[in-house]
Amino acid sequence: MVGLTHASPSVEAVAEPARRERRFTPGGEALRRFRRHRLAAASVVVLVLLALAILVGPTLWPVPINDIDFTARLAPPSWEHPFGTDDLGQDLLARMIYGGRISLAVGFAAMAVGLFAGIVIGAIAGVSKGPVDAALMWVTDLFLSLPQLPLLLLVIYLFRDGLKNLVGPEGGTFILIVLVIGGFRWMSVARLVRAQFLSLREKEFVEAARALGASKLRLVVRHILPNALGPVIVAGTIDVAAAIIAESTLSFLGLGFPPDIPTWGRLLFDAKDYLDIAPHWALFAGGAIFLTVIAINFIGDGLRDALDPRKVM
């Protein structure tokens, strides 16, 4: 029934006498708006399916990712290997499932890092006035004008070996990549949070809370922050997509995870030399990145519509 909404609420009221009053909660309203963005709703389904495939995939398709079979080198998709095989005859479906776990994990972890840093910095800048605010915003603008990819590559080049010795090759690279990607993606969130804080802190409800004797921390955490979260959620969603692309880019340049870990970007990197004889290899890996990223971007667009109460739909 929710999907079927009339042009104006009055029509509904006439058609359905006020026996069952519809309750409008902010969350319910946002959900209703989100569902009307058809591409976003479809994207949620796609993303959930992808996540499910990645999570339960290994139990349904228990083929080891490093099972070398030279008789089936660069084989096109078949019943035995639904996604074909690579140059060592390793099953691509199994490798894609494994790589998807890393790509999505990196995406969400980097988003969390960026969001956390952005909220903290933006909140501090928004609450404090004067030099602290100015300094933090100068740093934010500085970071916004940094060339991200060269610096990403530089940091990974300089610190890769150190962390590898500390935590091991896979964990070390994961931590480094997540921190670095997140560390270059907090600026837009910080700016959004600060802008929201600047307008919210002058509102009556904040003043009321302040008059009742709420501490500064309580004001921020209980009253201002929850009201500033809408745009931050949207930015966070987009950041997941950007982080997945960033990780794939690093792997594609051969500077991400170690070669034996098949992330989607790494699969593309390996596949690019066999484009003429095994195009399926590159197409499946690139298609997976594209599908994930576009689904997340559409969800972000839907959330933007859903969470902006001023927007007339």
Partner: protein, 319 residues
């Protein structure tokens, strides 16, 4: 105007200093001592090692080291490439025109695609054209450049055989043939980079035009009986483009990021592919210098955008 320029220049200096500080701190924090190899070499006595450290100022306070490094960078003394055996600044100067050529042309292509589509979509918001353009824009910036590059190679080089997929500087041809070969090899890289940017520019331009098109002065222009075409071109687009200048400048970091990937895929001899090969060869002086050059380019383009912005928008006072 001169005053305004000067003010902008003064604002750019601290950000360059900030970037250089970040680069230096990264280098200083990185594990591994440049003299580590000497330390493990039994043929070098400890006294010599100590003398070398003192000579290169390795034990000076960090601020002194930063100032020395900064002065050297400003002098153009960027060190010596381990891998190529020439000075880093010569190496970069050789490579930079190619990068600027590819990036510049792709930006022109991006604007040439995005402007008409964005303006037309904003003239008919939520129409079929708008929705199709919006969907394509989403597809455009969700397709990572490394994947589009491979797709284009697969279609146009491998399957159709129309375009070469390796960028060459030594083309064996003369006259028109040379120009044709030169253009042909640049088509795919420029298209990859340009179309990726065009996707986000389309959305910027659409929303900028939408902001302007409902304003009173546009209605006035229409009421005066000026043709729709003239209203859009002379009154709407000119004003809508002012914020777009800033948005294009904000995209510069990602444009140069895309250039690195594109240069790597098509093997274009620019500074992006230089960076990657330097990283793979552990060539630290080149890596530092190229990163610094990229940062300078970004700051430079932001400065340029500020100046264009001041020139376009009469509401900004130069005093």
């Amino acid at each position: 105007m001169g005053n305004y320029l000067l003010r902008r220049l003064i604002v750019a200096v601290p950000s360059l200093l900030g970037i250089s500080l970040i680069l230096f701190v990264l280098l200083a924090l990185a594990p591994g001592d440049p003299f580590g190899e000497l330390a493990s070499n039994p043929n070098i006595p400890p006294e010599v090692r100590e003398a070398l450290r003192v000579k290169f100022g390795m034990d000076d306070p960090i601020l002194v080291r930063y100032l020395h490094w900064l002065v050297a960078m400003l002098h153009g003394d960027w060190g010596f490439s381990f891998a190529s055996r020439i000075n880093v600044d010569t190496l970069i100067l050789q490579r930079i025109p190619t990068t600027l050529y590819v990036v510049g042309t792709s930006q022109l292509l991006a604007l040439a695609v995005a402007l008409p589509i964005g303006v037309y979509a904003a003239m008919r918001p939520y129409s079929l054209f708008d929705q199709i353009a919006n969907t394509f824009a989403f597809i455009g910036f969700s397709l990572p450049t490394f994947f589009t590059g491979l797709l284009l190679i697969l279609i146009f080089s491998v399957n159709l055989g129309w375009l070469p997929f390796v960028y060459r500087t030594d083309i064996h041809a003369t006259g028109w043939q040379w120009y044709w070969e030169y253009i042909k090899q640049a088509i795919m890289p420029i298209a990859v980079l340009g179309l990726f940017q065009a996707a986000s520019y389309t959305r910027y331009i659409r929303s900028a035009v939408l902001d302007v098109i409902k304003l009173d002065y546009v209605t006035t222009a229409r009421a005066k009986g000026i043709g729709e075409r003239k209203v859009i071109l002379k009154h709407v687009v000119r004003n809508a483009l002012i914020p777009v200048v800033t948005l294009v400048a904000l995209q510069m970091p990602s444009v140069f990021g895309g250039a690195i990937i594109t240069e790597q895929i098509f093997r274009i001899p620019g500074i992006g592919s230089l960076l990657i090969s330097a990283i793979l060869a552990n060539d630290t002086p080149v890596i530092m210098a190229v990163t610094f050059v990229f940062a300078c380019l970004v700051v430079l383009f932001n400065l340029l955008a500020d100046i264009i912005y001041g020139w376009l928008d009469p509401r900004i006072s130069f005093s």
